[in-house]
C-alpha cells in the first residue's frame, strides 16, 4: 500500500514537471510582442532625419545649379545656330555643336536624377542605421520578438500597443544630444 502511494506521488510529480516543461515555451511565446516603426515618421520627426532632409535639399540645389548652367549653354548654342547671317558650313557646325550639347544636357539630367535617388537612399540608410540601435534596445528591454519597419508589410497596427515610432523618435533624439 505504502509502495503504491509512493509510486503514485512520484508519477504525479513527474507529470507536473513534464506539463510545466511543455507549457513553458508557450507561456514565454505569449509574453513576446510584435512592434512596428514607421521609418518615414522617423525621418520626418527626428532631428537627425531633419538634418538628412536638409542635406538632401542642398544636394538637389547643387544638381539644379548644374542643370541650369547646362540648360543656359544649350540655349546659347541654339541661339547661335539660329543666327541669320551664317554661312551654310558655319550653320552646320553650330547645329552640330548644339546637338552635341543637347545630348550631354539630357545625359546630365538623367545622371542628376540617378544621383539624387542614390543620395536619398544613402541618407535614409544612415538615419535608419542609427535608429537600428535604438530598436535593438527597445526590443530587448520591451520583450519584442519582432519589430517591423516596412509599412507595406503591415495590415493593421494597434497604435496604442504596437506602434513604437514615437518611442524611437524620442530615444533617437535624446541620443543625439
Amino acid at each position: 500500500m505504502r509502495m503504491s502511494q509512493f509510486t503514485f506521488l512520484r508519477r504525479a510529480c513527474a507529470a507536473c514537471v513534464l506539463a510545466c516543461l511543455a507549457l513553458a515555451p508557450g507561456l514565454a511565446q505569449a509574453q513576446q510582442k510584435i512592434g512596428f516603426v514607421n521609418p518615414q515618421r522617423v525621418v520626418n520627426e527626428t532631428r537627425l532625419g531633419q538634418m538628412a532632409k536638409a542635406d538632401l535639399a542642398r544636394y538637389v540645389a547643387e544638381k539644379e545649379r548644374l542643370a541650369k548652367e547646362s540648360a543656359a549653354q544649350v540655349a546659347l548654342l541654339r541661339k547661335e545656330a539660329d543666327s541669320v547671317a551664317l554661312s551654310a558650313a558655319e550653320r552646320a557646325r553650330r547645329e552640330e555643336a548644339y546637338k552635341r550639347k543637347s545630348r550631354l544636357h539630357e545625359a546630365l539630367l538623367q545622371e542628376n536624377a540617378r544621383d539624387i535617388k542614390a543620395e536619398e537612399g544613402k541618407l535614409l540608410q544612415y538615419v535608419m542605421r542609427r535608429a537600428d540601435s535604438v530598436l535593438e534596445d527597445i526590443g530587448k528591454k520591451g520583450g519584442y520578438a519582432i519589430i517591423i519597419t516596412d509599412p507595406a508589410a503591415v495590415g493593421y497596427v494597434d497604435k496604442a500597443n504596437a506602434d513604437l515610432t514615437d518611442r524611437v523618435v524620442r530615444d533617437l533624439d535624446s541620443r543625439g544630444k
Binding site: R47, M51, R58, Y59, L66, L123, Y126, G176
Partner: protein, 442 residues
C-alpha cells in the same frame, strides 16, 4: 735641360689650373637670372577686382585683387579670363588663382606697359627657353603635364604639404630627369599623412650654427643652382657618414623613398633644422638634427636637396613666396579661414584612406581622405581644401572625385563632404552632409 722643361711644364699647368679656377669662380658668381614669364598678359590694377572660382557670376568669390596689384591674365573665354600670380612660370589653368570678368578687369586695370607683348603658346615658351638657355633642361609642355599628372606643383611648395599660395606663386617645375624615378616609385595610395599647409609669410629663423662647409654658400647661389640643375650633386656635399645640418627653406615633405610619389613621412617647416646625409639623385636622407649614428635605417626619410639649404644661407622662405602670399591674399590662409592666426595654425593635415576606381566608362576614381580636423571648416574653406587635395593627388588624366571625412569618422562610413571636378581643376560639384556630424552646425 730636362729640369728646365719640367719647370716650364709645371708653370703651364699652374697657369691652366688658375685659369679654370678663375672661370669657375666667375661662373658661380654670376647673378641668378630672374626669369620673367612670357605668357599671358600682365595687368596692373587700379581698383578692386573680384576673383571667382569658376568663370561664372554665380561661382564662389575666392578672393579680391586690390588696387596696385599685378596679375597675369590668360585663357580668355566668354568674357572671362583666368588670373595667375605674375611670377607663375607655367601656363597651366590648374595654377590659376581664379577667374575674373574681362570687363571688370579692363575697367579697373590696364596692361602693364613694361611687359613686352606676349607670344602665344609654345612659340612663346620656346623663345623664352631659348633666351634663358634652358631648352634642354626642361620641356615646358612635359613639365606642365607632369605637374598636372602628379597634381603637385613641386615637392616643396606643394607636395602633400600643399601650400596653395606657394603652389600658385613659386612653383618649382619638376626636372625632367626626375621622371624615371617617379615612374619607379610606387604611389603611396593606401595610407599617407599629408598636409594642406599655408604659405609661411615670416618663419622664425633658427639660431645660427657655424658650419664650415655651408658657410661660404649664398642663398642666391643655391637658388640659382636649384633652378638650373636640380639633380646635380650639390657642392659641399657632406661625406657619407659625416652628415651636415641644413634647414628646410619652405614647407618640405620628407618621404619614404627618393621619389615624389613615395609615402609621406613628415613635414618640415621653413627654418627647421635637420641633419642630412647619403645624397643620391637629388635627394638627401634626412635625420634628426641630434642624430649621432649615421645609419640610413635611422633616417626620417628623404627630401629634395634643393630645398635644404645650409643654415648660414637660410634667410626665410623664398621672397617671392612670402611677398606673393601677402600680396595676393593667400588662399592658403583663407583655406582655413584663420586670417588673424599665425599661418602655421592654419595648416590642415590629411591622410588618404582609400583610392578606388570604378570599372565603368568613363572611369571615375574616388579618393577618400580624412582631414585632421574634428570640426568641419566653413564650406568655402572646405572647397578650397578639397581643390588643393585634388591638385596634389590627381594622376594623369584621372577623373578624380574626393570624399572628405573628418577626424574620428568611420573610414567606411558616409563622408562629410564630396567634391567633383572639371578636368582643369575647377570644382564642378560640391556638397556636404551635416547629418554625419550628428548635430546642427551653428
Amino acid at each position: 735641360m730636362p729640369a728646365s722643361r719640367s719647370i716650364l711644364q709645371q708653370a703651364v699647368l699652374r697657369y691652366i689650373v688658375a685659369l679654370f679656377v678663375v672661370c669657375g669662380v666667375l661662373f658661380c658668381a654670376r647673378p641668378a637670372k630672374a626669369e620673367e614669364p612670357r605668357w599671358g598678359r600682365l595687368y596692373v590694377l587700379s581698383g578692386i577686382v573680384s576673383v571667382r572660382e569658376n568663370p561664372s557670376d554665380s561661382a564662389l568669390k575666392v578672393r579680391v585683387f586690390k588696387a596696385g596689384q599685378k596679375v597675369r591674365i590668360d585663357f580668355q573665354e566668354d568674357g572671362w579670363a583666368a588670373a595667375f600670380d605674375p611670377k607663375e612660370p607655367s601656363r597651366s589653368e590648374l595654377k590659376a588663382l581664379g577667374y575674373v570678368r574681362l570687363d571688370e578687369l579692363k575697367a579697373h586695370g590696364a596692361p602693364d606697359p613694361s611687359q613686352p607683348m606676349p607670344l602665344e603658346g609654345n612659340k612663346a615658351r620656346a623663345q623664352a627657353q631659348a633666351e634663358a638657355g634652358i631648352a634642354k633642361a626642361e620641356k615646358p609642355v612635359k613639365t606642365e603635364k607632369a605637374a598636372k599628372a602628379i597634381g603637385k606643383p613641386a615637392e616643396t611648395n606643394g607636395a602633400h604639404a600643399v601650400a596653395p599660395a606657394q603652389a600658385a606663386s613659386t612653383p618649382q617645375p619638376e626636372p625632367k630627369a626626375e621622371k624615371p624615378a617617379k615612374a619607379v616609385g610606387k604611389p603611396a595610395d593606401s595610407i599617407g599623412a599629408h598636409a594642406v599647409a599655408p604659405a609661411q609669410a615670416a618663419p622664425t629663423p633658427q639660431p645660427e650654427q657655424k658650419n664650415g662647409k655651408a658657410g661660404g654658400k649664398g642663398l642666391e647661389k643655391s637658388a640659382a643652382k636649384s633652378s638650373e640643375k636640380t639633380l646635380a650633386k650639390p657642392e659641399g656635399l657632406p661625406a657619407k657618414g659625416a652628415g651636415e645640418i641644413r634647414v628646410a627653406d619652405r614647407n618640405l615633405a620628407v618621404r619614404g623613398g627618393r621619389t615624389t610619389e613615395s609615402e609621406f613621412k613628415r613635414l618640415l617647416r621653413p627654418g627647421q633644422r635637420v641633419r642630412v646625409d647619403f645624397w643620391e639623385d637629388g635627394w638627401y636622407a634626412v635625420f634628426s638634427p641630434d642624430e649621432k649614428q649615421h645609419d640610413l635605417s635611422r633616417a626620417w626619410g628623404y627630401s629634395r636637396d634643393k630645398f635644404l639649404v645650409p643654415e648660414a644661407a637660410y634667410a626665410g622662405p623664398p621672397a617671392e613666396a612670402a611677398a606673393s602670399a601677402k600680396e595676393t591674399d593667400s588662399p592658403a590662409v583663407a583655406v582655413a579661414g584663420q586670417k588673424s592666426k599665425p599661418a602655421e595654425d592654419a595648416a590642415v593635415g590629411y591622410s588618404v584612406l582609400e583610392r578606388t576606381t570604378e570599372g565603368r566608362k568613363p572611369k571615375v576614381t574616388t579618393l577618400r581622405v580624412r582631414l585632421d580636423l574634428a570640426k568641419p571648416p566653413a564650406p568655402e574653406a572646405m572647397r578650397k581644401i578639397a581643390r588643393e587635395i585634388w591638385k596634389s593627388e590627381r594622376k594623369k588624366d584621372e577623373n578624380l572625385q574626393l570624399e572628405v571625412l573628418l577626424a574620428g569618422m568611420d573610414a567606411h562610413g558616409l563622408a562629410y563632404a564630396t567634391a567633383r571636378f572639371h578636368d582643369d581643376g575647377r570644382v564642378r560639384e560640391f556638397w556636404w552632409r551635416d547629418v554625419v556630424l550628428g548635430k546642427q552646425k551653428k
